[in-house]
């Protein structure tokens, strides 16, 4: 049997539950020594948020080379201050933050649609409610992005882009509504983005 990676003094027998607060807050990693297990644990958690952002929205990484840190860290701190839940819509909050940042002049519809697609896909994968689809709209584009949950065994979730002329734009930056079946036949009105 392979050797143990021996616990370090700095870890003090910490449980994972003692680190929950830090697992979503990149800055908190520096509360722990860099050679501690707690540091590694928080790093592993933070990396997943990073990958979910930049692997899914590579244009954001191109905007903030080399490691996306100029977007990722300030956004996560802002998200913390705003009390965001980091649910499926966190991508849309990234766009909201970008509009208020030094990156605002580098945004375009291509970046926006990538972000809206990422949010729709995340909803389609994570949501466990009864709705079958989500429609996301934004004031900055006439395009809607629709995310459908997997409803055939050999087809995964589906993301579509639509333009519907007679639909009003959302009253806020983003709006969404949910579809109770696999048809886009009704418009129940825009819902505000939840935190």
């Amino acid at each position: 049997m392979s050797q143990l990676s021996q616990p370090l003094e700095q870890d003090g027998g910490l449980k994972d539950s003692a680190l929950y607060d830090a697992l979503t807050r990149p800055a908190r990693i520096f509360d722990y020594p860099t050679d501690s297990r707690a540091f590694v644990r928080i790093d592993a958690s933070i990396r997943i948020y990073w990958h979910h952002l930049f692997d899914i929205c590579p244009q954001l990484l191109e905007m903030s080379p080399p490691d996306g840190g100029a977007i990722f860290r300030p956004f996560m701190a802002w998200a913390d201050a705003r009390g965001l839940t980091l649910d499926w819509n966190w991508y849309l909050w990234v766009y909201d933050w970008l509009l208020q940042s030094e990156f605002r002049d580098r945004l375009n519809e291509k970046v926006l649609l990538e972000i809206m697609g990422a949010a729709a896909a995340r909803w389609a994968v994570l949501d466990r409610g009864r709705n079958c689809g989500v429609v996301i709209g934004c004031r900055d584009t006439a395009n809607l992005v629709v995310g459908w949950k997997c409803h055939k065994i050999d087809e995964g979730r589906q993301i579509e882009m639509l333009e519907i002329e007679d639909l009003p734009p959302p009253p806020e930056l983003f709006g969404c509504f949910f579809l109770p079946d696999f048809e886009l036949s009704t418009f129940p009105g825009w819902q505000s983005l939840s935190k």
Partner: protein
């Protein structure tokens, strides 16, 4: 021992069909709540072999009872239609103070035992079948409480354990939870998981349950050393692979597992209560 493969997303449908056709696996484990919009009858006809159910996002330690009742109402038609060998779920923290943990947190086994007991009892009753709960690949020291937590939960609530062998190997390597501490749990359960793990990107290197690598030598050694505890009538072991999916690599690991657990004839689907 029956060998299975986890089917989590439609992307791997053709590959899983090939694994079945070539008799590499005996059953498929469905990440069932990913398929709640696929009609039960379609799912029942999707694979020509028995199935197990693994639930990912019930979040039964966190969600309110009405949400869980609704989740169970949607799951039960799948249990009726597919008659899975087992129904399993996770004991972990998916959120903290309303914030999503993308890398799920380890439960606080001693602090939160009473809550866990109450919720596991409720959740098992709602599902209407025996509930198996998977152990966690501990990184931090609370993991030393895991074996006792699961034994107590089994004894007091009547749930079972979906014992993940490589998660136990990770916990051993990371914090020294003796593998012997799991022996009674292995002996008293029939459904198992195994996967590859990787090391963290930075030091001190810890084992991370990543499902993207070949089975580690110490995992193989662990299974081999306890073959008689694992291998029993109705036993299953699911090989999980969610990253770096390559057919030949997966088959190579399945062959390693088959060498430890020689093939037995697959039987018809059995009721979950009979085998869990």
């Amino acid at each position: 021992m029956r060998l299975g493969f986890n089917f989590t997303l439609s992307d791997t449908y053709e590959m899983v069909q090939r694994l079945i056709a070539e008799s590499r696996i005996d059953y498929v484990e469905l990440l069932i709540d990913n398929f709640f919009c696929v009609p039960p009858s379609e799912l029942a006809n999707a694979f020509s072999c028995p199935v197990g159910f693994h639930i990912m996002f019930s979040r039964f330690f966190e969600n309110d009872r009405e949400t869980l009742r609704d989740f169970a109402r949607r799951l039960r038609p799948y249990i009726d239609a597919l008659n899975p060998m087992y129904v399993s779920d996770h004991c972990a923290r998916f959120s903290h103070q309303g914030r999503r943990l993308f890398h799920i947190g380890e439960f606080d086994y001693s602090r939160d035992y009473d809550e866990a007991r109450e919720r596991a009892e409720f959740w098992q009753a709602e599902l209407g079948t025996k509930l198996l709960i998977e152990n966690y690949p501990s990184i931090m020291y609370g993991g030393v409480e895991q074996p006792e937590f699961f034994e107590r939960l089994q004894r007091e609530v009547g749930v079972g354990v979906l014992f993940d062998a490589s998660n136990a190997v990770c916990a051993y390597g990371n914090i020294g939870v003796p593998l012997e501490k799991w022996d009674r749990i292995i002996a008293s359960n029939r459904h198992f998981h195994v996967a590859g793990y990787s090391l963290s990107m930075i030091e001190p290197y810890v084992r991370m349950d990543t499902h993207g690598e070949a089975l580690a030598p110490d995992t193989i050694e662990f299974l081999s050393s306890r073959k008689d505890l694992f291998d029993k009538e109705g036993a299953t072991i699911t090989y999980e692979r969610d990253n770096e999916i390559n057919y030949d690599d997966i088959v190579a690991d399945l062959i390693r597992l088959r060498a430890i657990f020689p093939k037995q004839e697959a039987t018809a689907r059995e009721p979950a209560l009979a085998t869990a």
